[in-house]
């Protein structure tokens, strides 16, 4: 049986009176691909932030590969080999595409190897023609792709992507799907997404968040056809 790489127990985050994350018990196996869905404000990003150390949960625990990481700083969690993309774009606008990705690789590899890895992922993401361009000059979809490169370049074993496809063209999404599939050969991947078609195209298991709590967790087709899910999520979206 595959090892559990990410687990939360009783994870709760309150902002004043708002319970943004409500007693979430979550388990992810090695090389599993999981989608998180839920209406706006369901607490998906808050859950992500608690897992990545950007927020310290009010209650509950986070474990990675069996080690308790509750309350760790983001850099400590990332150092374990976790690739993270936040919902809002988080890149270095004044630096080139290559420099952005090289910096991500340099954390885990020496100068030469970092350059080789950066070059290779830039190729795979078809960013070659703009490798020396500053990120601030790029279109949104390209920036998203660069951020995917930042996340993937150092061969993480756990990848957390908060809305990676937002604002991407169909072609970009296809390329990203490919990269994500490649990642799952070695890494477990969690993706927050709204795009149903995209989710169908990549996910097997989907976890549905609603008002901070896990509403349901099941096979993608069963989730999509569940009346309760349709009511809270799909109904609202239409």
């Amino acid at each position: 049986m595959a090892e559990t790489v990410l687990e939360t127990s009783g994870l709760t985050m309150r902002f004043g009176g708002v319970t943004a994350s409500d007693n979430v018990n979550f388990k992810l196996k090695a090389r599993e691909l999981r989608c998180l869905i839920g209406p706006n404000g369901a607490g998906k990003s808050t859950f992500f932030k608690c897992v990545t150390g950007l927020l310290t949960p009010t209650e509950g625990h986070v474990y990675m590969r069996g080690q308790e990481v509750t309350g760790w700083q983001p850099h400590q969690i990332a150092s374990l080999g976790v690739g993270i993309k936040t919902q809002t774009p988080n890149v270095m606008d004044a630096l080139s595409v290559h420099e952005n990705i090289w910096l991500a690789a340099r954390r885990f590899y020496n100068v030469v190897e970092a350059r080789e890895r950066a070059d290779s992922i830039i190729d795979r993401l078809a960013l070659g023609t703009i490798a020396r361009t500053q990120l601030g000059q790029l279109a949104h979809g390209e920036r998203q792709r660069v951020e995917l490169g930042i996340v993937a370049v150092a061969d993480p074993w756990l990848v957390l992507l908060d809305e990676p496809a937002a604002g991407m063209s169909a072609q970009d999404v296809d390329r990203m799907t490919e990269i994500i599939h490649e990642l799952t050969r070695f890494a477990a991947v969690v993706i927050v997404e709204h795009d149903m078609q995209f989710i169908r195209s990549i996910a097997q298991t989907v976890t549905v968040f609603h008002q901070g709590a896990v509403l349901m967790e099941d096979n993608v087709e069963r989730v999509m056809s569940d009346p309760q899910v349709r009511a809270v999520y799909l109904g609202k979206k239409a």
Binding site: V91, D93, R107, T133
Partner: protein
């Protein structure tokens, strides 16, 4: 990569050799020495602010600390070598402690400014109030607002009677600046420097990549303080007296203005800004028609309005547009619409 480093070093050496040779023909070495020292002080802030994104309102504190450390150590020790080393180490350690407190505490930039400002003020007030005979460190009386005069000035290492002063002292300071400049160049080209720039651009992202932002900022902050401390020690030797004015907020503000006028994010800009403005101030000091703080303020306003990136970047892009064709042809860039276009 290797070739362009060599290229950089050679250009730096040739340009500095020319300047060190030509400038004394126009300006007295006594004045030039202090311009060089200010250049180093400007570079110290230019490094941490321009490349590390750390805006320190108290760079003068490290400058003053370096100067006082030198003076006190020189009185107690006599020979100048160890005092020079201490003058670099003491501000660096002080900055490391202060930086650790600020960066591990994850203070927002505004508070960072406030804290560095307050620390400078406290040092200034404290040193000012040490006029009494009870304030001594070893044989050195702190002297309060009178400062500390009469300490051993720079000597040839190992020979306390062979003082280095006058023209030779200018050359020592100039060479020291060139060495510091080359070290800063090397630092910025190293992984440490590139990571520092990444942190300047986006701390959160660098944290999410696994970089320990607080530690790296603390180290950079301490390096900046070490350079400022060296400048302070050189200044003490030049003036042959140290006074609390070294710690003054006015001095701190001036360093910030040097960086803005010269050009942040360049290595050369803060040096040019420092030397240029200090020379201007020196010239204005020789007349009494216009107040020199007024002129300095006016220059700052004009730069912020018309050359917000500073002198050096402006000149560089001008030269680039004139001679751009002869240099390596930039690859045709795909032009992009707006950021989120």
């Amino acid at each position: 990569m290797g070739r362009s480093v060599l290229h950089d070093v050679i250009i730096t050496l040739v340009v500095s050799a020319l300047l060190i040779w030509l400038l004394p023909l126009m300006i007295s070495t006594y004045t030039l020495t202090v311009l060089v020292i200010y250049g180093m002080l400007g570079l110290s802030l230019g490094l941490i602010w321009g490349f590390g994104g750390i805006l320190c309102f108290g760079q003068a504190a490290f400058f003053g600390l370096g100067a006082y450390t030198y003076a006190i150590a020189a009185i107690n020790i006599g020979e100048s070598t160890l005092p020079m080393i201490l003058a670099v180490l003491v501000p660096a350690v002080f900055a490391a402690l202060l930086g650790a407190m600020m960066f591990y505490g994850r203070l927002a930039d505004v508070y960072l400014g406030v804290i560095t400002l307050v620390v400078t003020l406290i040092l200034f007030k404290f040193v000012n109030s040490t006029a009494g005979p009870q304030y001594v460190i070893g044989n050195a009386r702190l002297g309060g607002f009178n400062g500390i005069p009469g300490f051993q000035t720079l000597n040839v290492p190992g020979d306390p009677t062979a003082y280095i002063w006058g023209d030779p002292y200018f050359y020592v300071c100039a060479v020291a600046l060139v060495i510091v400049f080359l070290l800063v160049t090397w630092l910025l080209r190293s992984s440490f420097g590139r990571i520092a720039v990444g942190i300047r651009e986006n701390e959160v992202r660098m944290g999410l990549m696994g970089y320990d932002v607080a530690t790296r900022k603390t180290v950079l902050f301490a390096i900046g303080a070490a350079i400022a401390g060296l400048a302070g020690a050189l200044f003490a030797n030049w003036g042959e007296i140290v006074t609390p004015n070294l710690f003054s907020l006015g001095q701190s503000a001036e360093i910030i203005i040097w960086c803005i006028v010269g050009g942040l994010g360049t290595r050369f800009g803060p040096i040019v800004g420092a030397a240029g403005l200090a020379y201007l101030k020196f010239m204005l000091g020789q007349q009494s028609m216009i107040d020199n703080t007024l002129v300095l303020g006016l220059i700052l306003v004009l730069f912020v309005l018309f050359l917000p990136r500073g002198l050096v970047p402006a000149v560089a892009s001008l030269l680039n547009s004139i001679f751009g064709g002869t240099k390596r042809k930039p690859k045709p860039r795909r032009m992009r619409r707006a950021r989120h276009g």
